[in-house]
Symmetry: C3
Subunit: 665 residues, 3 copies
């Protein structure tokens, strides 16, 4: 069980390093991530390296019994680099340059950046590959963060090469992108530009490929560094830190290249439900690479600096969220950062050792958590062993985020809504892709799979045919991997198994204040006056266990063999089918023709779980008490503001309890 945080000794004089090691020992720190933003100190000029200070720090840590997760320091190029090679600076879709003065100021596809980064990593790897303090390699930092997409000429050149590699011929690209629409037919790859500012909507298949290209290009930077590290003879695990459900990087694909998954997670203390979104991230990390431990690489001990309001954590809340991570598979708890900075953009970001020193609650909680973690028994490795799987797919996310749909959908928010509804029932969930092995599951919840490949559709159907219960929901199986309709209508793949066909999507007006809203420049370029109060907002439906409130879409479906479980009541589709089930081989396939609100998601899934016989991790818990199983250990955590008693276990606010084989740990 690792415990520690980012360590940036370059911000402090050498005398502080000695104090740091002493305080780390006091706090029970076992490992630090070192030098993430130290490029400008390690390499003060091209061709010039200064390792002396780093040698000293690493040796000090090693002597103090602190292991090192050594960063490759490539996340923030030094000023001399961007001054010498301004063409390595990225640009936004309007052609505006991202200048230095912050961090991450490099175009991922820039040859100059790649060369300089490779030189730095080569020097670092050669020097420290065999150092006994180094137990892990931390490649770059939060790839894609802040600068999700680069549209510079670097990107144009690289995107064209990526497309040529994918399609081989320009006619294959024309066919995939449907470029006969709006006279977009290319005759040479050299004519293609990234999806920069254009007069109106850009080609959706091009948008989708640009997101794939971006994810691949960022990953190629990681692989370049990893290969250099391995080439230097390093044998420690190599990783880069993820950021939960992060849009620009398809972590399903990335996870294959990680030796260990690490995640940064910053739930908002002001949101009493943020622990569920944190649980979502934990389960996603565990699922990305099951049977391999993952690490919580960054969290905050207390307040942050980048929200409009950076509220403090409540007493105990930091430990509760740490234990949540462990309960969901983490084998390490680390923070940004060890010692709070005195200067710079993140000086108000809390740290293990706060600026106000050891007399603070933060420090006391850090010391206490270190002690508790050290006392934890060995836990089973996190695996994908739940009875319920929830489908989450980056490709679908990218496609569903394109404009010009019946209604604006925030896929992440919707999947999190489904997740939270299951979490409130204390039922354990794994995340899967549509194409994942589903053989171990009782129920698969597959919400809103707008883009669904042939393999994915076949896999879902096979799961049901083999006896599983599959829940499919509105706006599914609409397009292929090129964001094009399949011939013959909608639900062309799943429809026969669902026993329905779909005539119309029936867009509704988004409820006020939700993230599923949008704006539009209007068809003729004149801003559309959005009369948000006009039009149908809610589509209630009478389901098998009560009324469910549908939103955003009320699809017009027709039964072709399915059994009717519920119909719309009121509104445009009054008395039309809304919720169906169909026998598929040994299993069942449900279809819900709308997007329920939070309560509706719980009503629908609880019905499906009841029919399937899926049980909670722990019975009889209030909603704010979380239960998670790791191997044969169940962890109960009270995220609520009031004390509760469960089976004679008292849980104060933010208290937790490890239970193994029905025996309290």
């Amino acid at each position: 069980m690792h415990y520690g945080g980012d360590y940036n000794p370059e911000q402090w004089p050498e005398e502080t390093w000695h104090e740091d090691v002493r305080l780390m020992q006091q706090a029970g720190v076992t490992m630090v991530s070192l030098g993430i933003f130290a490029w400008s100190r390690i390499q003060p000029a091209e061709g010039v390296f200064d390792f002396a200070w780093l040698d000293t720090v690493i040796d000090l840590l090693h002597e103090g019994g602190i292991a090192v997760d050594l960063a490759t320091a490539t996340a923030s190029p030094p000023p001399w680099a961007t001054t010498a090679y301004p063409q390595m600076l990225p640009q936004d879709e309007n052609g505006a340059t991202y200048w230095p003065g912050s961090r991450q100021q490099f175009a991922p596809a820039s040859p100059e950046y790649r060369r300089l980064a490779a030189e730095l990593v080569t020097a670092l790897a050669n020097r420290y590959a065999k150092h006994p303090a180094v137990v892990m390699w931390h490649v770059n930092n939060e790839y894609g963060c802040h600068l999700n997409y680069d549209y510079s000429d670097n990107a144009a050149v690289a995107f064209r090469a990526w497309l040529a590699g994918k399609y081989t011929t320009i006619d294959a690209l024309n066919s995939a992108w449907g470029t006969d629409f709006w006279s977009q037919r290319y005759t040479d790859f050299g004519q293609i530009v990234p999806p920069r500012k254009a007069p109106y909507s850009r080609n959706p298949a091009g948008e989708l490929d640009f997101k794939r290209y971006t994810s691949d290009t960022l990953l190629s930077l990681y692989l370049m560094e990893k290969n250099i590290i391995r080439g230097a003879g390093a044998t420690q695990p190599v990783t880069t830190n993820f950021m939960g459900a992060f849009p620009p990087a398809d972590y399903w694909r990335w996870a294959q290249e990680m030796d260990v998954i690490t995640d940064d997670c910053y739930p908002d203390p002001n949101d009493p439900e943020s622990f569920r979104i944190a649980a979502f991230a934990r389960d996603l990390m565990r699922s990305l690479k099951p049977d391999t431990p993952w690490l919580l690489m960054e969290q905050a001990t207390n307040a942050l600096n980048w929200r409009p309001t950076n509220a403090p954590k409540s007493p105990g809340q930091m430990a509760a969220l740490s234990m949540q991570s462990i309960a969901r598979g983490a084998d390490g708890i680390l923070f940004f950062q060890w010692r709070q900075s005195r200067a710079g953009s993140e000086k108000f970001h809390s740290a293990m050792y706060p600026h106000a020193g050891t007399r603070t609650r933060t420090w006391r909680e850090v010391v206490q958590l270190g002690a508790e973690l050290a006392a934890l028994p060995q836990l089973a490795v996190g695996s994908r062993d739940a009875r319920v799987a929830l489908v989450f797919d980056w490709e679908n996310w990218w496609a569903i985020s394109n404009p010009d749909h019946p209604v604006v959908l925030d896929y992440l928010e919707l999947v999190q809504r489904w997740y939270a509804s299951i979490h409130r029932q204390h039922i354990q969930v794994d995340f899967v892709m549509p194409e994942s092995d589903l053989s171990g599951y009782t129920v698969v919840v597959a919400p809103h799979l707008y883009l669904l490949t042939e393999a994915g559709a076949a896999n879902l159907i096979a799961f049901a045919a083999a006896g599983g219960d599959l829940l499919v929901t509105a706006f599914s199986d609409v397009v292929d991997e090129n964001d094009a309709f399949r011939p013959g209508g909608y639900l062309t793949q799943l429809g026969p198994s669902l026993g329905i066909w779909l005539e119309d999507f029936g867009a509704l007006v988004a409820p006020a204040g939700t993230s599923n809203t949008g704006s539009s420049a209007g068809e003729n370029g004149v801003p559309v006056a959005i009369a948000a109060t006009l039009g149908q907002v809610y589509a209630p439906l009478d389901g098998p266990t009560g009324t469910i409130t549908g939103t955003l879409l009320a699809e017009e479906i027709h039964l072709e063999g399915a059994e009717l479980l519920g119909s719309f009541s009121g509104g445009r589709l009054d008395e039309q089918p809304a919720f169906t089930v169909n026998a598929v081989g040994a299993g069942r396939a449900y279809y819900l023709a709308t997007i329920p609100d939070a309560a509706g998601c719980e009503t629908v899934t609880s019905y499906v779980f009841e029919v399937a016989g899926v049980e909670p991790v722990y019975a009889g818990l209030p909603a704010t008490v979380e239960a998670a199983r790791r191997g044969d250990t169940v962890v109960l955590i009270n995220h609520g503001g009031s004390a509760v008693e469960i089976d004679a276990i008292d849980l104060d606010p933010f208290a937790y309890r490890f239970i193994t084989d029905d025996v309290e740990a």
Copy 2:
């Protein structure tokens, strides 16, 4: 009576073309608009044309009895063109380029674009000028759409030339623009730039001229193409499709160059009042070129793709809106598009032949409408024969849209508000310019003519003097054609006829949630904190038939001979004059010193109509039933959600009835 839609066969394999013709025949299609976005297929490289496929399609259509409205295909240049000539790309006011990847990526003033477009049109016109299938020419598409204004160096060069043509000498321009304000005096036309980003408000006369230049420049593209078509010996009517009240193009000026007016119109099914705004567009099209039929060139059969919520049309609603067009002068009903696309930005845009095929309601309604249109009797040509005229003027629109006014006014919304108030009274309205022949009218409603030319003012006064009733409203006769105050105050031209003088505009705070709001950077560049709840919002006035709610402006006027019809009650101008009438020759001139809300517009106009003896098209109708007269035919349409009975005529929701000479058709 034409029936059909845009046809884009280049998106489909040849076998589909045969199916298309068969299905078109089934739907009663008589004409399609062909090849609007086919440039990249017709001309795969500079100097290389491929007409074989187009020949085949046109011949297939011709054999199938479907006429062709042949597009010139110049709306979306192919990627090879913008790659070879990047200087033809337009730019926004910040200097950001509009890149390819969408459509409309050309600077209207670009010499390269003009040359390439001319070469394409020449080739097309030479080939198809005499083809018997071609019955109309569709030049470009929705000129100015998405890219209302171009600020690139192309525009700079052309704007200077346009200004030199208009003003001859730079001193004439200085005088017209008032450049002694803020030291803006030019000494050479070459010093002028388009109204690009500037530190603060730009010269309003320059803004106005830039809008005139833009309208003229877009029109010159149309004329270039039209001249090429005529030069090739084509004799069919030539048109380009309008977009209702579209800001960048002065359609009064453009209409003179059209052989037939065509319009694209997409009312929002979520807005129960959108049929009135649609009626506004129909009457505008009829009025732009009276005594010539116009065509509804684009509408949707069902849902769109570009609003935040793209709700489906109700059953029958598409036919009701089609019949509204016919009732108001249209001689053809066409759609975007014939066959729903499988790919691209508009694949969710409904079509005559939906992606879900013939088993859909959309297809059934398309077939039914085709049959009904084929059965319609010959109708009189739409003309300007109403008793009431409503003034709508692009020049005033442009001027009123300049910043730095007492309050922000949305001229289009205000004219539509006046129109809707008259529409609710079932009174027929023509649109006119201030300078139009008004001799046939009983009442002229001339709202908010901030910019009023000498000719316009004289014409309005002459109309009243000849016995007409003229209604003038707040913020009228303020500036000349250079957006400059006339010497001597305000209402300098109309004041004597109105019998009043105006001291102050009396800006009010805009009611929340309206489009007549704005924001401001503040005089010193610091954002102004807008305390929207502070200040007077409403200015009630006691009128001759009850209380009217004034908004936005409560002008301080003084009577100089006028008779008082109503005074403000409460607020800043309590008991001051608000509504007046003055005898002018044989007629009357009303002045309303505020901008009423929707109910107030109806109260004011109904009073004026009552005094003038103007009658509705059909008496006793509920508000949601529309009545329109075309020659001696009256069409009744129920746009409401409930069935109604009128003089023993049952009208279900979205049902309609043609009545001629009091005999049902």
Copy 3:
């Protein structure tokens, strides 16, 4: 007592000039600011000057008895200048150019602009230095207005030079800026760019220095012109017009270079409390250079043109706000502008002579005010002689405006809130810097001094030690002049005197609709969904005289000797200390651990004043009646909408009364 306005005769024919002088005499005008935007008329081409018309105007004014405040006309370069030297145009942080067509289109650091401006001022000064009509020099106009910050290459070059001048070595800069954070270490001044668009938050110390650089650079333009004027032998006072609390210019520093302070002030007539914000500006101007008269250089006679709603002033309101200025130290009342323009961006801006002429209320009020001012007795010069000082500091403003703080704070709004709370108590206030001489004050209110220098802290402590009462509030003494935490925690300088230490800032959610809100791109570049209703908004505290509502911050403080005056009641810090007092030498130091709402500010300050024995200027006044003392004259002004009676003095709305030595004037 000066009376007049900006005069722009270049906008009018010569015959109007004669009429102007005649009307000015009628209105009692004594001085006009001449030629502020006349550069393009004075210098029609490089090297060519035309002074003939200006000679004529100045002579006409002189003959008419009107003195001239002669402008240097450098605020808006002519089109020929920016055409010849496009590199002098400024750019925004995205690299977009600010083009001509408005005003202020010059980069302050541009060598070309500086050369051209110097040539113009040299010619003007040589010609008019000895002209008897010229009584004052008006340098440029509203420096920094509209274009607060320039990020062009001009700025890059000048910023580097400014930094090299300040820091001498790049290592000193690295240390001050904390560039070891995020690998920002520079090895050469040439690597530094202005704070242009970057992927994420920029270095806060760099931001702070860029604001200092900007203020200094604008001031250096003023000094360049002033030196030229003096070099030409001119002896009249030289000034440039301020804009109240204007962010980009540290007027404390600027005031030292002004011979007379002049201010432009435009309170919103729609805001019934705007007279208090106007009073804030008056007191600031008086305090910037005490014992020297200041002039109200610009205000409006009636409506403006740049707010979304430009409401008229009420009858008498213009005079009331003029008398407020005089009561708070002004020795002149001037307007923008003398004669309302017929054309251009400000034609709707009211003027002394309105476009609607002499039959207007505006004209009548202008004439009346001129007469009243001429009849005023000699008044004492405005000085810093109040018993209460309020600290307002530009350096702190700049630092507090950096992002990445616990919560977004609008420092100006907060200081104005404190000011207004004192103004409502009719207590006279001077403004001071933390480092000012405080020896004359009884109470110093020092709100939210996030950035506090060693000298400032020592000065505040010395004030209390000498017997003063010091009020310190939340978010004070947090960083040094480089926006870096001081070693050892927070409140490291003031804490011992306050008798407390601070553990945590305790950010609260901003109340809806306030300016203290913000948004965030989120740590990973994905927009943060702000659930504004989640989290604690208010922190009530039980104070010595009742409950006070705290907002934005509820700090966790610990007593180390202080006496407890109030505790939080409810919320996160229930029953924790919130309001304390500590004996410091002969005085007291209060600390308030939150930011009260408006009522709370009044509760807190009234308690402090009561304890200190501070009395109002005039007892028993209603809140809307203002009282201000100038020497031995007290002015009472009724800013409310109803008449009031005070000690037998009747005050109609917007009426005022001068009282000297308890005898009515």
